[in-house]
Subunit: 335 residues, 2 copies
């Protein structure tokens, strides 16, 4: 206390152990054979002096930071925290650090953060890109590998970990159609996201496959936030005599439910309802919500594994590849 302790350097460790700094480094990194005797001396000296390597020096010299960047559009969205949990697990157990950034679904924030990352700060990047044009990334790419998660960027290649959006929505809508519904409203998230396009495609395909007429006025596009779920539900219910509603985004699902609750609309009696993404609360509301559930932690793990593999192999980041994990339709009591 009060005493300012000088940080111990590798030089001191080497001196105490009676070896060169090279040997200390090789012991720490296990990058060259070191005799058992010297190894023990080094380990003991490190222990005794309380040595911790300086990561800035290591990064500068080795050109590796053992840090990966992550950009998500909304840290308060439980879908993304599920993903983060999965990423964290893999990153941690491989000795990497995770730098988190929240783009807030804003392209300018996202670009700014990428610029900050472009300074040998990270060895690789995982991101869920905003809906804007990302072709600018193609140029920057190659500095470090990038893996996209949840959504693909518009205008650029790379590996991505996605979900079978179109198929699972097709399944849910088909369920509604088979239950006799023909007027089925759909509330989507942000217009230009690949997730939005794919989920909408699943909806449209179900209509077409079952010979039903598509009514574009039953398709409402929101901004992926709570409030637009509320507003669009009001809109679609006021103007249309739909018998079923599908909400293709999680926060909008909550907003939508808020409106339905306020108006005391009985589910599934007056309206069959299917939401998106699952959290523990979806089983404590009445009725228990039928939802499409994505394997969030698994998505995160997969993305992190791919990225670390890329980093280790030092492959060129010049091809596209999609990994599609399986989202599932959970039939509960709201439809």
């Amino acid at each position: 206390m009060g005493l300012i302790v000088m940080k111990v350097r590798m030089k001191e460790v080497a001196k105490t152990a009676g070896v060169s700094t090279a040997t200390v480094s090789y012991v720490i990194n296990k990058t060259r054979f070191v005799s058992e005797e010297k190894k023990q001396k080094v380990l003991q000296a490190m222990e005794q002096l309380g040595y911790t390597p300086n990561s800035a020096a290591r990064s500068l010299r080795s050109k590796k930071s053992y840090t990966i960047g992550l950009i998500v559009p909304d840290i308060n969205n439980f879908f993304f925290t599920g993903i983060i949990e999965g990423i964290e697990q893999v990153v941690q157990s491989n000795g990497y650090q995770l730098i988190l950034s929240n783009s807030n679904e804003n392209f300018a924030n996202e670009k700014e953060q990428i610029n900050r990352f472009n300074s040998q700060l990270i060895d690789g990047l995982i991101m869920a890109p905003t809906a804007d044009d990302h072709s600018f990334l193609c140029g920057t790419l190659g500095e470090y590998p990038v893996v996209y998660i949840d959504r693909k960027p518009n205008g650029c290649f790379g590996e991505s970990v996605l979900v079978n959006n179109s198929e699972v929505v097709y399944e849910a809508i088909t369920y509604l159609i088979k239950a006799g519904h023909e007027k089925i409203g759909i509330l989507t998230g942000i217009k230009d996201l690949t997730t939005t396009r794919e989920r909408l495609a699943g909806y449209q395909k179900a209509f077409s496959d079952y010979g039903l007429q598509l009514d574009n006025s039953l398709i409402k596009t929101g901004d992926s936030r709570y409030k637009s779920g509320y507003e669009l539900t009001k809109e679609v219910l006021n103007n249309k005599d739909i018998t079923a509603l599908f909400v293709a985004n999680n926060l909008m699902t909550i907003g939508s439910m808020e409106f339905l609750r306020e108006k005391k609309i009985n589910l599934p009696g007056e309206l069959a309802f299917i939401g998106f993404d699952d959290y523990k609360w979806s089983s404590i509301i009445i009725p228990r919500l039928s939802v499409i559930k994505q394997p969030t932690a698994e998505m995160g793990r997969k993305a992190a594994e791919i990225l670390l593999k890329r980093i280790k192999e030092e492959e060129q980041n010049n091809y596209s590849k999609e990994y599609r994990l399986t989202a599932k339709f959970y039939l509960r009591d709201s439809c």
Copy 2:
């Protein structure tokens, strides 16, 4: 594409601009006066060459990483993501990066992460410590400032951003008592957390102030997870004829509600209920939940501001100070 682009270094920028690297550095960091003419030349050269500084080199030399560490016990808990959002805002707008780590409420994980941080990786740390003995930190402290959030560590000093736990719980319990309840169950989180102790103290003080007999069998200690909320609710309801229940932790609130829903227990008719922490879903369940709401984003912002101030002032981290923000009791329909 295919072409591997050599990273541009400060040396090239200096050469292009016709100045020394020192001048380039001073322009970038605004740490010394540079004539307008040279400044423009430098900025233009940087732009032209697409220069981004190497952060490892900068960190090594300046002994600042412009990075702060954050350790939370559960990334999937919306209370902590609210905090993270606040921290993120402040950190971003001050040009710092945020390294996130999930301790998973596990002391060993936490210690391991702190060790990784102890390598000149971070300039400061914000953490919500686990319930274990943290006196080991006192020794390490001084390397970088630490701000605790939500909870105080057991056995060590420092600044902390907390909430008026005891007072706000006192207010909620008092409300129940005034409404005529005398048998009020309480479900708490992990035993040795300061939050648990303080919330329990508020409960006990209300009983004592209103001359009610404390029944320790109505106090159940959980592990802050969903499942223990479910189990303890079952336990307390099976053995006791309580008329009101207070759950002092957010995930346990959901677990508790799950049990109540299963048993079709009518709120507030058969049981008055108050939960902890608020999220959008608490207003879509029936009845709308009465809860204690913490100012999560504000807590995060406050902690980040304190930490950055500390980092800039290079003060010694050798005093304790508590900031208590105000949590509020939201009376809705469940009690």
